[in-house]
Structure formats: structure tokens, C-alpha cells
Amino acid sequence: MRPLSDTETKVMFKKIMKYIGERVKLLIKRPDGNYCFRIHNNRVFYVSEKHMKLAATMPKDMLVSFGVIFGKFTKTKKLFFLHITALDYLAPYAQSKVWIKESSEQHFLYANHVMKSDLARITDGTPRNAGVIICNSKDVPLGFGVAAKSALECRHAGPVAIVAFHQADLGEYIRDEDKII
């Protein structure tokens, strides 16, 4: 377990900023305590200072997880992949959201892309390839995605056209239990 180096922090922030933009600051500096990012076995954990210090007492090879796993770096640390476990921390600060109809919730939760026919609403001014949080009609966050079309284009798109690419969904907690950690 060690703190992230500058390059690693940069790569990670860039990824997170795709979804929540400048509000990353709210993750770094929180009013309710000191939270920090730690990297362990190429996985990034978001953890409060107190728990981090407790976890630091564990031997490295025995430590599996602590705090919340945000994502994973590739071996060469060039790419950072966000995990579904970070959803709770990113959803409240999301810049662009996509709301899907109740009938197509299951469709998305089985790792399918969001199509125009599933789309209920989309945040105005979402550019293409922006990071989006996909929510259901009751505003419960279901997962992450990338906007395939900008908000304007969505209006004119056909019913089968893909509106948002699926990246992570809540169904992964059941499907990919072992990969979550």
C-alpha cells in the first residue's frame, strides 16, 4: 500500500474528471474527514485516514481490500479503469446523466448498451464521448457509461441507435463477484 505518484494521480484524475469534472476537489478535500487514495496491487482505494492507518498494519501479501476500490491501473500504469464500486462516490457529483426507462433497466443491468428506445432523459449539453452516469427513472444510479452521441444528436437518433456505451453497471456485483475485488 502506498500513496499514488504524481503521474498515477494525474492519470486517475483525468479519468474521474470525465464523469464529474472539477468536482473531484470534493473527493480530495471533504468537510467530514481526511480521505486519501492509496494504491495496492495496481488497485486504487479511496479510504478515510483512520481506516488507512489500520490497513497499513496488515502485512502486504495478506491485505486484500480496504475502504472503497475506485478502480484499477494497467500493468504499465498508463490506463486507469473505473470500477462499479466507485459509483456511489461519483453519482452525486455527476456532470452528465442519462435516465433510462423502467422497462429497459434490466437490459442495461445485463451489460447492454443504452439505446434510443431505452432513453428517458439526458442532461442538456452533454458532448459526445463524455462520461455519463446512467440512472433509472427514480434517480437511482445504475452504472457508468460514455455518451455515444451528444444530447442534440440523441433527439434525432433512430430508436435502435446506441446513445450511451455501457462501461459498468450494478449487475456486476452479482456477475463479477470475484472481479469486484
Binding site: 505518484s5 494521480t9 494525474k10 484524475f13 473531484v24 476537489k25
Partner: protein, 410 residues
């Protein structure tokens, strides 16, 4: 009689009382205590009722009495051991420890077999150690050493003649050749010995000799560059990084160390650092910094100078910018008013004079006589030229005016 009886009774009473107060030096336990005077230890494996530990007041006393008994046993045992006096000090000779203690360190691993040992095992070669040091030599008719200085001398004497083989050059020195071959064999053996050592210790072996730089192979050149960077007294610590050089971990000094940050407990410092990094992410690629502008200007200027230099060295005079004129020639011309200096500079000087004269006329007409003067510069040093021209011009034999120009001593 009564007093004596009383006295003895009294004494007995006192002794009895004392006995009661002082605890006995005899220790009787169900299981006898094992003493190991070698380690000064006593082992008490009698039944111990742990429920007594719960009572805070009692337990200290109980534990103290158990401890006291054990120590008493040990000391009684010690008194029965052999005694000596060293420097008028009484000592008890304590026997060796009886308890078997576990190993402090793990069992040593067997040494890995060397390359030769493996080979010898495979082939079934047995060591030739224990051979006779001296060998019978028929020529000398005596026992000569198998190796060593004397053997070398004898061999030299034996081989006073060396045959030139058929395919060899007749003028080749066979003795020198043999000596060279022997040197090479020794060097090869030494190299292999060191290589085996390095293999055994798993340390890297330095490259053979000096790396050559006259190759076109980029890998070799890179290797040579890296080694040369580290070949300073401080092992490359203060060598400035070359432009475009990627620091290689394990090779370049201090490479890869930025990633291994010490594990800081200061989360606040980390968060402020993270904020800084955030700020840097959003900065646009091209900055309007003055430094950047200066850099670009300098770059452009350097490029221009290079171009001009290249043109000067190129063939065509028209591209060069005309005939080559030396600085000194131009200086001479201006100082001696067109009398000295090379032809081109004199020509140019006279041209300039003519132009200035015309300008002076036109300016004079406009502003009424005050136009021609040039403003004085503040720097006195700049006013004084490099050359001193003699005030009185000399005349050559033909009558031509010749000014003597001397360089000013600074």
C-alpha cells in the same frame, strides 16, 4: 537448674518463632522443580489453579510465593555446586546448560554447486587432488615439479627449439606466438573465473573492456552512453540529463525513484498535492508565459544564424551577401578615411560617406544646420575606438598619405 531449663526453653522458643517467620530453605512440591543452573533457570510444572488469578488482591501474593519457591530451589542447588576463588573472590562453577534451546537461525541451505561441480558430477570426473607434486622427467632424469616457477624454467630450457609448422609464415616468431597464446589462455581463465563468481553471487558482470563508439549500432551506442554517464567520480549523480534521454530504472542514477514515495502519514499534505496536480491537468497546452515566448524567439534567432552561416560557407557569392569583407578591413577603412583596408571595405566606406554627405545637405536645408550632429552616447568606453590613428599622416615615397594605425592597449 530451672534457670538453665528456662534458658534453653527460651532459646528454643525464639528459634521456633524465627523458623516460623522465615520460610524454609526446603522446597517441597508435588512435582520436583527442574533446575538448570547453566541457564540459571527453574521450571515449575506443578498444578496451578488459574481461578486465583481473578482475585486482584490474592494473585500477586500467590505468584510471589511461587516465584520465591522457585528461586529458593535454584539458590539451594547452586550452593551444592563446586566452588572456587579467583582473585580472592568466591565463585560458583556453574555447569553447562542442560535444556535444549531451539535453533536461533534457520538451517543453512546447501551451497549451490558451481558450474564445474555440476559438470563433474554428470561426467563422473573425480578430483585429481592429492597427486604427487613431483613428476618423473625422463629428459632431466630426475623428479621435477608438476607446475610452478621451476617447472616453467625447465620447460623453457627443454623447448630451446621450436618447429615452424608447414602452414605457418617462416618469419613468424614462434616463441612470441606461444607466449601470446599462453597470455590469452590465462586471461580467458581469469575471465571465466570472474564470470563464475558473478554467477554465483548473482551480481552483474561489467562489460568486457571499453565499449566502442565507432559503431553504427544504436544499441551499442546507447549502452556506451549510459556507461559513460555513470563513469564519473560520483557515479553519474551530478550529470545533467541529456535532451530526449529517457531515464532507465536500474541504469540511470535516480531513475524510477519518483514512484517509490515514502509512505506518508500526512493525508492533508497529500490532498493539497493532489489539488495542485488537478490544477495542472486543466492548464492548456500552450501557455502565454514570457519564458515560452523568449524560448521561441531564441530558437528562431538561432535558426537564422545557422542559415546565414550555412550561406556564407556555400558557393555562390550572391547568396552569401556579396564579397567577403573582414571586420578589420572595415574598421581600417573607417578610421583611415578610406585609405587603408581591403578594397571592398574601402569602396563601401566611400559609398557611405557620399550618402551621408547627401543626407547632411538635405537635412541641413530642412532644419537649418543642426541636423548633422549625432547624439553623444553616454558610454565613454564606446566612444574610444579599438584603434589609434596617428594624428599626423605620414607620406610614402610616392607622396600618398599613409596613416599609421595602432591597436589601442586596453
Amino acid at each position: 537448674m530451672m534457670e538453665e531449663v528456662d534458658g534453653t526453653l527460651r532459646v528454643q522458643q525464639i528459634i521456633a518463632q524465627a523458623d516460623r517467620e522465615l520460610k524454609s530453605t526446603q522446597v517441597d512440591k508435588d512435582i520436583p522443580l527442574e533446575t538448570d543452573p547453566g541457564n540459571l533457570s527453574v521450571v515449575d510444572i506443578n498444578y496451578f489453579d488459574e481461578s486465583c488469578m481473578r482475585n486482584v488482591e490474592e494473585r500477586e501474593d500467590i505468584l510471589a510465593s511461587i516465584g520465591r519457591d522457585s528461586v529458593q530451589q535454584l539458590i539451594s542447588h547452586m550452593y551444592s555446586l563446586q566452588r572456587t576463588t579467583i582473585d580472592n573472590q568466591p565463585f560458583i562453577i556453574v555447569p553447562n546448560s542442560v535444556t535444549k534451546l531451539p535453533r536461533e537461525k534457520p538451517i543453512p541451505k546447501p551451497k549451490p554447486l558451481t558450474r564445474w561441480e555440476k559438470f563433474a558430477l554428470e561426467k563422473g570426473i573425480k578430483s585429481k587432488k592429492g597427486r604427487d607434486f613431483k613428476v618423473w622427467d625422463d629428459v632431466a632424469q630426475e623428479f621435477v615439479p608438476r607446475y610452478g616457477k621451476l617447472r616453467v624454467q625447465l620447460d623453457k630450457e627443454k623447448n630451446w627449439v621450436m618447429e615452424v609448422p608447414d602452414n605457418a609464415d617462416p618469419y613468424e616468431d614462434q616463441f612470441a606466438k606461444a607466449a601470446e597464446a599462453k597470455k590469452e589462455r590465462i586471461a580467458k581463465n581469469e575471465f571465466q573465473r570472474l564470470r563464475n563468481l558473478a554467477r554465483a553471487k548473482k551480481t552483474g558482470m561489467p562489460g568486457v573492456g571499453v565499449l566502442r563508439t565507432d559503431t553504427h549500432d544504436t544499441n551499442e551506442l546507447k549502452k556506451a552512453m549510459h556507461y559513460s554517464l555513470a563513469s564519473t567520480a560520483s557515479l553519474g549523480k551530478f550529470q545533467p540529463a541529456l535532451r530526449g534521454e529517457v531515464p532507465v530504472k536500474g541504469f540511470t542514477y535516480n531513475a524510477g525513484k519518483s514512484v517509490d514515495k515514502p509512505f506518508t502519514g500526512d493525508v492533508r499534505a497529500e490532498s493539497s498535492n493532489a489539488m495542485k496536480i488537478l490544477g495542472r491537468i486543466n492548464r492548456p497546452e500552450l501557455s502565454n508565459d514570457q519564458d515560452v515566448i523568449k524560448k521561441m524567439e531564441k530558437k528562431i534567432l538561432d535558426e537564422e544564424i545557422e542559415e546565414r552561416r550555412a550561406l556564407k560557407l556555400s558557393g555562390r557569392r550572391s547568396k552569401r551577401g556579396g564579397r567577403l569583407v573582414s571586420k578589420s578591413g572595415a574598421a581600417l577603412a573607417s578610421l583611415t578615411e578610406g585609405q587603408m583596408g581591403d578594397r571592398t571595405s574601402r569602396k563601401r566606406y566611400l559609398e557611405k560617406q557620399r550618402q551621408q554627405a547627401e543626407e547632411a545637405k538635405t537635412k541641413g536645408k530642412k532644419s537649418g544646420g543642426k541636423g548633422g550632429k549625432t547624439p553623444k552616447t553616454g558610454n565613454k568606453r564606446k566612444d574610444k575606438s579599438l584603434f589609434i590613428v596617428s594624428k599626423k599622416p605620414m607620406r610614402t615615397a610616392s607622396g600618398r598619405i599613409k596613416n599609421v594605425v595602432k591597436k589601442r592597449q586596453r
